[in-house]
């Protein structure tokens, strides 16, 4: 993955506009957070292969980490904390937010076909 440059990523998001695409959206602080620190309130959410169709998609922010929002016909998808991006060999746009230790904390991914 590469550090996000918003113009490039914006271009890639636009390629998914106005068509049925598959979404992976995830936030996580790891399954062990409350084990190592019992006062830590552990949260996470995960959705894989939601089929969406968005009419507007924006990546924004002054500097890394960035935010991305997708306007779907009856609602929204968004993520914050995004630092890295890649289009992989399956044509999937992967956006991820990694903390200083290189641990994934958030992911927003789009694919023209279902994720494996």
């Amino acid at each position: 993955m590469q550090p996000i440059t918003p113009e490039t990523v914006q271009n890639e998001i636009d390629k998914f506009l106005n068509q049925d695409v598959y979404l992976h959206l995830e936030t996580t602080n790891g399954a062990y957070a409350s084990h190592f620190n019992q006062s830590f309130f552990s949260v996470g959410a995960y959705i894989r292969n939601a089929k969406i169709n968005f009419e507007r998609g924006v990546i924004t922010g002054e500097k890394s980490p960035y935010r991305a929002g997708l306007k779907i016909n009856i609602g929204w998808v968004y993520a914050e904390g995004l630092t890295h991006w890649e289009v992989n060999e399956d044509g999937q746009l992967l956006l991820a937010g990694h903390d200083a230790e290189g641990k994934l904390a958030v992911a927003l991914q789009l694919s023209p076909h279902p994720f494996e």
């Binding site: 996580t28 062990y32 084990h35 990694h98 200083a100 290189g102 904390a105």
Partner: protein, 220 residues
């Protein structure tokens, strides 16, 4: 016992690395076959590296290769990846999962099963895996049940379970163990680096700790 076979059931590719790989190596060294059932590919691992070496999508492929390498190092002849998804094991139907494990037990007739101690193994996948194994073994008549050695590491495990009753000194296979740990590079590289950094003067103590693997025998 005339027929010996060890069945290891864990949800994540590196669950055996630090606490069980020495015990596995000691068994295969004696010629005891070891079957390793790994429920998921650890798809939800968070360590991607800085700069990143993996993505959410490439991680399972990397971890599967690492598991195969580790299994090779430990001379595991029978590695079974079940293709469940990381962090979803507890949401599967426990009856179905237990039945699937029961089939493997019927097939292999293991003399020993190694898994997580349900209730004392922190990660929801660990808990669900251990619970499914116990449920499967409970179906068997008491005199047909293999021994079940459980890994526990919750903060309250000593308080609730007492001292572990099985202590294996695995120093005779410590090189193999270290290789197996290193094989899970995406998961362990940073841990090894941190250990080396922190313990520059204490390497013998760290090794001593690594050479001791401990289990609680499950009491049905």
């Amino acid at each position: 016992m005339s027929h010996e076979h060890v069945l290891v059931v864990f949800p994540h590719p590196d669950d055996e690395a630090f606490g069980v790989s020495g015990t596995i190596a000691m068994n295969t060294k004696k010629g005891v076959p070891v079957t390793y059932v790994c429920l998921t590919l650890g798809e939800m691992g968070r360590n991607m590296g800085n700069p990143p070496f993996a993505t959410r999508e490439s991680l399972p492929k990397i971890r599967k290769k690492e598991l195969e390498t580790a299994a090779g190092v430990l001379n595991i002849s029978d590695l079974r990846c079940w293709g469940l998804r990381d962090k979803t094991v507890e949401f599967e139907d426990p009856k179905t999962l237990a039945a699937r494990i029961e089939n493997v037990i019927d097939e292999l007739k293991p003399s020993l099963i190694i898994t997580f101690y349900p209730g004392y193994s922190v990660h929801p996948d660990h808990e669900a895996t251990g619970a499914a194994v116990i449920r499967a073994v409970e179906q068997l008549p008491a005199d047909k049940r293999p021994a079940v050695h459980c890994v526990a590491f919750s903060n309250d495990c000593y308080e609730m379970l007492g001292e572990p009753d099985v202590i294996n000194d695995v120093s005779s296979v410590s090189d193999q163990k270290l290789e197996a740990i290193k094989a899970h590079r995406s998961q362990t590289e940073w841990i090894i680096a941190a250990m080396a950094e922190e313990n520059k003067d204490k390497v013998p103590e760290v090794l001593k700790r690594m050479n001791r693997e401990q289990f609680w025998t499950y009491k049905f």
